[in-house]
């Protein structure tokens, strides 16, 4: 009699209740190991290669905002020492020239930022400087966009609006061939 009892039990279907637990375990494993790797960074468009150096001597001095970074990671902005922290505000003032000073750019369309570094400059410093200069333009685009269209500048804006803003304040950031004074490590 007891035998028939066990045989009866074997006829039952397999309990699938623990399947969810197993799946959960796997799910949690993948959840933990997943790093939805996002790559973020400063997007830059390099100029095409040409053998001759661009000639900037024909530019008016007032339209050029020169930034030099030496191998000791020190900054020289328009022939004066400066700190990275003040770079953004100075660049913005230079580009827009709100008070029409005779030594700053004639207008945003004429403004050129020239960046030159040494082969011994730390990448950290270089990127911080680049970030600030790009930030100056981003801020100005935001301001202009806010005034005109009532929203900050973003990639989601219609192409025509973005183009209008970038025509008004074109980003001209020229990088010169670096000097070779510092020690490379």
């Amino acid at each position: 009699m007891a035998k028939t009892k066990t045989r009866d039990r074997m006829n039952n279907e397999i309990n699938a209740g623990s399947m969810a637990d197993i799946a959960f375990l796997l799910l949690i494993f993948f959840l933990v190991t997943t790093t939805i790797a996002e790559d973020k960074g400063i997007l830059v468009k390099l100029p095409p290669w040409s053998d001759e150096e661009p000639d900037i001597t024909r530019l008016k001095e007032r339209n050029v905002f020169s930034v030099l970074v030496n191998a000791q990671n020190q900054l020289l902005v328009r022939e004066e020492p400066a700190r990275i922290g003040e770079l953004r505000e100075r660049a913005k003032e230079f580009i827009m020239n709100p008070t029409k000073r005779p030594d700053l750019a004639e207008g945003p369309r004429n403004a050129i930022i020239s960046l030159k570094n040494d082969r011994g400059t730390d990448y950290d410093t270089y990127l911080a400087v680049y970030n600030e200069l790009k930030g100056a333009y981003d801020d100005l685009w935001d301001e202009l966009s806010q005034r005109r269209y009532g929203q900050p500048y973003s990639e989601e804006m219609p192409f025509a609006q973005r183009k209008a803003i970038r025509d008004e304040i074109p980003m001209v950031l020229s990088e010169a061939e670096p000097t070779n004074f510092g020690e490379e490590q």
Binding site: A20, W49, A128
Partner: protein, 158 residues
């Protein structure tokens, strides 16, 4: 009357959990798909700097990675301690870059090739000399869209 009493008569059945595994499996497959097991193992130590003006790179297949940094401890006996370039999973020199770019390019359809971005993952402590050499090589290879990979900075600059 009879209608109602009939319904009440049946014991309310427990909610079936039979479809729960299916739902969980669906989630599981989703995460299995998005999980990217690290494709190239890094032989260099790369701590990218932090910045604020960041752009997100969306299409992963259109990005190729160039790592620059010092070899990690275990590779220092082979590659030394000065900064090196890593393309894919091997340590290379600047002269290998055009071939590396070409190999990535041929895998993509023609229409998308103009949108290829090179992401430079450079250690913050590396000096600009080697970075400049890479940039020059990229310009010569006509790969002009580049990205300085960086993390998000929250604090202020000093």
């Amino acid at each position: 009357m009879s209608k109602f009493s009939k319904k009440r008569g049946k014991a309310s059945p427990a909610i079936s959990t039979a479809s729960l595994p299916d739902i969980i499996f669906m989630l599981l497959f989703f995460f299995m798909m998005v999980t990217v097991l690290r494709d190239s193992d890094l032989k260099l130590q790369v701590n990218t700097p932090e910045a604020t003006q960041l752009t997100k790179l969306d299409e992963k297949s259109l990005v190729n990675y160039i790592y620059i940094g010092r070899p990690t401890q275990q590779y220092q006996s082979v590659y030394g301690t000065s900064p090196r370039i890593q393309l894919g999973d091997k340590i290379s020199t600047v002269d290998d870059i055009p071939l590396f770019l070409e190999q990535h390019k041929v895998k993509l359809p023609e229409a998308k090739r103009s949108r290829i971005t090179s992401s430079l993952r450079v250690d913050g402590e590396v000096t600009m000399g080697i970075v400049q050499d890479v940039k020059t090589k990229l310009r010569k290879s006509n790969q002009l869209k580049i990205n300085y990979s960086a993390g998000k900075r929250t604090g202020n600059l000093d």
